[in-house]
Each structure stands twice: as structure tokens, then as C-alpha cells.
């Protein structure tokens, strides 16, 4: 199984220490706690969660932009968790990232052509005429006019800038692309063109992609499998159709029911579960199941829910859920059967 994985994350933990001053002490932010998943070859895996769920920290650890506290990251089967920057360098060809903000992730002093060509230059793969040809080809690939090579990022629209970011990430034909909220800063009509482009390119080039987002509709459109995170934990992982048709974890159920649909009739007739309270602080995550403080099904699993952490277990083949109420073949109760809390 693992030799098929383009990227594998095993028991990843990232704790940040905060508030350490001269007096010592301080506390620990549990950003990511024991998260494991794999991105199969040629697969688009969506990683979904709300702010503070740790999804971007996962991306940063995978990219080795932050040092994980523990756990392993395997790129095509080889452990890259503890490689030095120098050892990491040749592997950077295989692993590229597109960032959320198309404004701050491009160097304002470089022309767009230079930005896109930089990976080729730094890896010493091409220069001169060949470099230019490859940059032109890549501009064409992402649907940018070739003249834009001489323009600077500030002269481009948000959508064009995100295409430049995508061109830079894809020019080395990486085997894995990490995309962290690549469309959330863009207008709806521009989002559509970037999502279409990403889907086309993925089919054409066959790279594997970890797509991080808070937007369920995007995941539904783009991804093959979906992983849901809550407060540093993976709570559910399933193939797309399965997750949307039969979400199990109460958090996933609530998340799906809260998403708005652009159809007044449907939107106004669906029952939704509004979660009570706020996401607890990652400085002191709740004991047991991290969702138990807000879980509408909590009475049914208490007191176990606050004492014991539910492991990620297989509900059906390929569908993993971390909830005390779910076991192999036994689904969780539906939330929408609870009285809807609509005023």
C-alpha cells in the first residue's frame, strides 16, 4: 500500500511553544496531533477544516517549512522528515506548493517570467534559450499570454497572479503539489477558472495533490478523497462520494449541514445543525474526544467521550472515522434527526 503513496504522513505531531519569556514556563499549542494519511499517486486529496484545525500546519510540515515535533513524512516511500536543507534540495523538484495569497507569495521585484523560471535556474536545469522556451511553454500551459513574462506581479489581476504561482509550482513537473487555499482570495468567477485549470492540469500531468481548503463545495468538485480535521486531529477520511453522501463523524455532519447552497429553495428547506459554542483553544484541547465539548451527540457517548480518545477506525473499507459512536459497519446517529435549532 505504502509503495503506491506519493506522499505519506505518519503520526505527525506539531506543538508550538508559546509565551516562553525570561521567567520560563509558557504553554504549548497543539496545532497538529497524531495525524496520518497518504496521498496516492495521481490522486487529489482534499484536507478540510476550519480556522485553527491545523490544516495549514500539516502543509508546512510536509513542505519542511516547519520542523515537525514528531512523526514521519515520506515522499515516494523515502523518509524526508529529518533531511537537512542541502539533502532536501534535490527533492524539492518533486514537491511544490501554491500559496493562498497571490499578492504576497510573488516577489514584487521580479518579472513574472523570472519568477516562473526561477526553479529551473536554481536547480541548474536550464538556462538561456532553453529556459526561455520552458517558461513560455509553462505560461501557455496555465493559460497566460506569453507577453506577460515581462510584466511585474502588481500589473496582473489576482487570477493571473495565481496562474503565475501555479506555473512556478509546475514548471519542474513535480510529482506532488501542495495547494494551500489557492482560490479563497479570488472572486467567484476567477475561482472557477483556476479550479478548472487545476483539474485539467492534474489530468494532463498526473501529479498528486494535497488540496487544503475550508470550502466544501470546492473539495466536492475537485478531490478524489477527503480528509476532515478538527482541532489538530483527523476526524474522518473517505472517498468523496461516500463522505458527502454518508458523513459519519458528528463534526463532518455539522460542517456539511452548515455549508450554504446557492439555491434558495434547497437552502431554506434543509435542516442544519448549528454547533454550540466555539472551537476550544489549542493551548488546552479538551480531553478524550476533542469535539465532545460541542458535539450534539455527546450525551450518547458520555462519559467515554471526555475520558478516552476515539481512534481512527475503519467504518467501511476506505472510510475512516474517529468517533466512539462509530465502529465497523455501525454508523453514527444522524444529527439532522435532532430538532433543528433554527429560530
Amino acid at each position: 500500500m505504502s509503495d503506491a503513496a506519493a506522499l505519506e504522513v505518519r503520526n505527525l505531531v506539531k506543538h508550538y511553544r508559546v509565551g516562553t519569556g525570561i521567567t520560563g514556563g509558557g504553554s504549548i499549542v497543539h496545532a497538529v496531533d497524531d495525524v496520518s494519511f497518504e496521498v496516492r499517486r495521481g490522486e487529489l486529496l482534499g484536507l478540510v477544516g476550519e480556522s485553527g484545525s491545523g490544516k495549514s500546519t500539516v502543509a508546512n510540515c510536509v513542505m519542511r517549512l516547519t520542523e515537525p515535533t514528531s512523526g514521519e513524512i515520506l515522499l515516494r516511500g523515502s523518509d524526508i522528515t529529518h533531511l537537512s536543507r542541502r539533502e532536501m534540495r534535490p527533492l524539492r523538484r518533486e514537491l511544490h506548493m501554491v500559496f493562498q495569497d497571490p499578492y504576497s507569495s510573488l516577489n514584487p521585484r521580479m518579472s513574472c517570467g523570472a519568477i516562473v523560471g526561477e526553479p529551473l535556474r536554481l536547480h541548474g536545469i536550464a538556462k538561456g534559450g532553453e529556459l526561455r522556451t520552458r517558461v513560455e511553454e509553462t505560461f501557455d500551459l496555465v493559460g497566460l499570454r506569453s507577453e506577460l513574462r515581462y510584466r511585474y506581479p502588481h500589473e496582473l489581476s489576482g487570477g493571473q497572479r495565481q496562474r503565475v504561482g501555479l506555473a512556478r509550482a509546475l514548471i519542474l513537473k513535480p510529482s506532488v503539489l501542495i495547494a494551500d487555499e489557492p482560490v479563497s482570495a479570488l472572486d467567484v468567477s476567477v475561482q472557477a477558472s483556476i479550479l478548472n485549470l487545476l483539474r485539467d492540469l492534474q489530468r494532463e500531468m498526473g501529479f498528486s495533490c494535497l488540496f487544503i481548503t475550508h470550502d466544501l463545495a470546492t473539495v466536492e468538485f475537485l478531490c478524489d478523497r477527503v480528509a476532515v480535521m478538527y482541532l489538530g486531529k483527523l476526524v474522518e477520511l473517505a472517498p468523496r462520494e461516500e463522505l458527502f453522501a454518508s458523513p459519519q463523524h458528528p463534526y463532518t455532519q455539522a460542517l456539511l449541514s452548515a455549508a450554504v447552497v446557492p439555491d434558495p429553495e434547497e437552502q431554506r428547506t434543509r435542516k442544519r445543525t448549528v454547533l454550540e459554542g466555539d472551537v476550544p483553544s489549542p493551548l488546552a484541547p479538551p480531553s478524550g474526544c476533542r469535539f465532545h465539548t460541542r458535539c450534539p451527540l455527546e450525551p450518547r457517548s458520555a462519559p467515554r467521550s471526555s475520558e478516552e480518545e476515539p481512534p481512527l477506525t475503519e467504518f467501511t473499507p476506505g472510510h475512516l472515522v474517529a468517533c466512539h459512536l462509530v465502529s465497523a459497519g455501525r454508523p453514527a446517529p444522524r444529527l439532522v434527526e435532532e430538532p433543528a435549532k433554527i429560530a
Binding site: H214, A217, T218
Partner: protein, 325 residues
Amino acid sequence: MAEPLLEVSDLSVRFDTDDGPVHAVDKLSFTLNRGEVLGIVGESGCGKSVTCMSLVRLLPETAVISGNAVFDGVDLLALPPKRLRAIRGRDISFVFQEPMTSLNPVFRIGHQIGEVLTRHLGLSRSDARTRTIELLDLVRIPSPAQRIDEYPHQLSGGMRQRVMIAMALACNPRVLIADEPTTALDVTIQAGVLDLMRDVRERLGTSIVLITHNLGVVADIADRVVVMYAGRKAEEAPVGDLYAAPQHPYTIGLLGAIPRPYHGDGERPRLREIPGRVPSLRELPQMCAFADRCPRADELSRSQVPELRFVRPDHLVACFHPGPE
């Protein structure tokens, strides 16, 4: 039955910048009826926020505003500043997008809400405090008597937005203008804020202008929708009509651009893209502003500005070739 409360006609807003004028809003007219939720949708730069800011004159001095905005018999745009101040925050109040930056970080939330009450309603400090606790309770903030003495940084984003709404509701306003009230919030929190706004409308009868780029939010709560493009109104319709039978090619494009669940067999269709980009607002185009991106554009669209026409009762479209696909 529809009783107009706020009538905006021929509103134009121009900013005189160092690089010349920018025409943010061009002859926009709309009506807000009593007890209604009016959604104003559009993408960045379409003039939706500027429109609402101009009504209560919260724009910088570089803005040149013309037209009328009649609220309860008085023209807000012609009112002397002192009288406008008495209306703003009392009869017409605002909720902004960023709950982080629209609260003052150095004052307790009780002080900030109380200020509205002492200023507009002349309540004493102790009465203001009692009323503030009621308001926090109204917006469903748990243990309001404790929360009242907290500072904004002690609250989560969703809580802060509830505080903003409490502040906006302090004087029982007749109109609440909410500019992207849920954009900065997570989906599960957004659902709660939308429920709260629905509740406010039903219990207090407040009319709401909801400005957003999110067509899902509009579908959830609006009664009527105005779609704006490049400072002009492209389409206006009751919410059901707009989604079921959009007429303007821009509206059709926007609705097709949103990913939605696909249950069919075989290849999932691509999302609809709108080619090109929004025109510059430096000059007012003497044509349909959408013509350069529109599959239906012809000579007529490129030579004249389309007037708004009724295609059905209550359904207005500014297009020479309206209709479903």
C-alpha cells in the same frame, strides 16, 4: 404590502484620485421595503460596499456623491451632518466585515455598546449596562453579565461579530446594513450568524441590506436580490426568480461558476468561467459594461448603455438580450 422604507434613486459615486476620476457607482436605484432583507451581490470592485457607505456618508472626502436616498421622508444625501449623525447608528446602523478591526481593542465591549446607548438614547450608565446585557443575551452570547467586561481580544471571531450585531441593534434601528457580515467567519459560525439575522428581522422587524459576494448566503436569507456589475445594476429580482430563472448573462455566469454537488453519470461538467476581466472604472463606458465578456454582445451592446427593463413583474434586467440560456 411592500412599503418602501429607503428609496435610493440615481445614486452615483465618483472618487477624484490623483490619477483622475474613478466612477465607483453609476446611477443606481433601488428600494428597501419594510421588514425585508435585500441582498446586494457582486464581485470585488462592483460598487456594492461604496453604495452603502455613501448612504450614510462614511466615505472619504474624495468621494463625490449625487442622487437621492430618501429614508422616512428625508433625503440622507442632502441632510446637514449634525442631523445625519442623529440618524446614523440609531435608525440606520452598520455591521462590517472585519469583527477584528471594527471593535476598539482598548475598551471593554460593554463600554463600546454602552456608548451607543448613552449617546443616542441618553441612557444613564447603569441603565446602559442593563440594556447592554440584554443585547448580548439577544445575540446569544453565553453568560453576558461576565462577557460585558471583556475586551475584544478575549472573544472569538464569531463572538466579536455577535458583539458588532448587538451594537448595531442597540437603538432598535429600522435599517441594518450588513457588509459581508459572515465572510471572515467559519461555516459553522456563519450558520449561527445567519440564523441570528433572520431572528432579528422576525422579532424586531428590522429591514436588512445584506452586501455579499456569496450567493449561498443570499440564497439563505434574502427576499430580493440586486446583482451589481461595474457600478451598475445588472439585474434585480425576488430571490426565487433570480436563482431559478436568471436573465442577465453575468448573473447566469456567476451562478454557473460555483461548484455544486454533481449527481449525474459520467464526466463531471467544468465550472462556467467568465472570460476577461472587469472594465476599468476610470471612464463610464457608453455601452453595456459587460459587453467585452459577454457571449451575447453585439453592435447594440457595444454602442449603447442598456436600460433596466422589466422581463416579468418585479424582475428587472439591464441587457439588450435577456433571457435564460
